[in-house]
Symmetry: C3
Subunit: 109 residues, 3 copies
């Protein structure tokens, strides 16, 4: 048994979940926040068999779109205590960040 943790954009979360359910998987969703952009995102938990992990990864990738985003990054530590200079920076976000963890014991009670 494996436990898949997938962090996806809020815009992609519901579609990814629905597609996983359609493919027969059970998913638990948690609201989360990205540390860097401080934007709300979605953390999905999918417990599944070792053989099905690839399918889960494929479904998630297919339905979460990478996007380029311009953000204004504050650099409060560059000048001194009160320096709040910001500058535009283009970063790539979206897509999904997926961690697959081994499950030693699985119980449905």
């Amino acid at each position: 048994m494996k436990l898949v943790f997938a962090i996806v954009n809020n815009e992609d979360g519901n579609l990814v979940m629905r597609e996983l359910n359609k493919a027969g998987f059970s998913v638990t969703k948690m609201a989360s926040t990205g540390g860097f952009l401080r934007a709300g995102n979605t953390t999905l938990l999918v417990g599944t068999t070792e053989e099905e992990v690839q399918t889960v990864v494929d479904v998630i990738s297919k339905h979460s779109m990478k996007r380029r985003q311009v953000v204004f990054t504050p650099e409060p530590y560059l000048g001194g205590a009160m320096d709040y200079t910001t500058y535009p920076e283009e970063i790539e976000t979206g897509g999904a960040t997926i961690f697959v963890v081994d499950v030693e014991r699985f119980e449905k009670v």
Copy 2:
């Protein structure tokens, strides 16, 4: 050290947590949502020793009740893009879904 992830019904969450605390365990609770029913549920994290995992599983099982529930499942993909036929379906929910994961390193700082 092991980390137990347990997804339980919202109605059972507080009782399960209180019983785990009474038995001497520390628990962290997170609000979550089930992908299929889109209902709020509760994800509990319990870090404990290998010897105590069985006790954690027993406490969780004892205090989370399985229940049968009728849901109306939309099947939007059966007829075509705008087909929203729904039909009643009885599913079993409640109880608890438990994943036990090995912890390589545990720190209390």
Copy 3:
């Protein structure tokens, strides 16, 4: 690859996250609740390489402060069904509780 779960106080959460980001780490934050005190706290997820785990642990420890706190612990089971005697108890909280879990597979899609 490793996945670090760190439960920290709400007061420390944002600082710990910012310091992890400054050190080059990506962090996902989830709102959580401690089972015993029923107080909101913060659960951080940090996926990182095996070599960097120590740095993550150091950054978290450095920026989450242990504190002593007096709580009034209800003991509803001591006298009988309606016994709600409470008494003050000093407990140590804060700091951080950290679990490091092995990641079998890591994908950024």
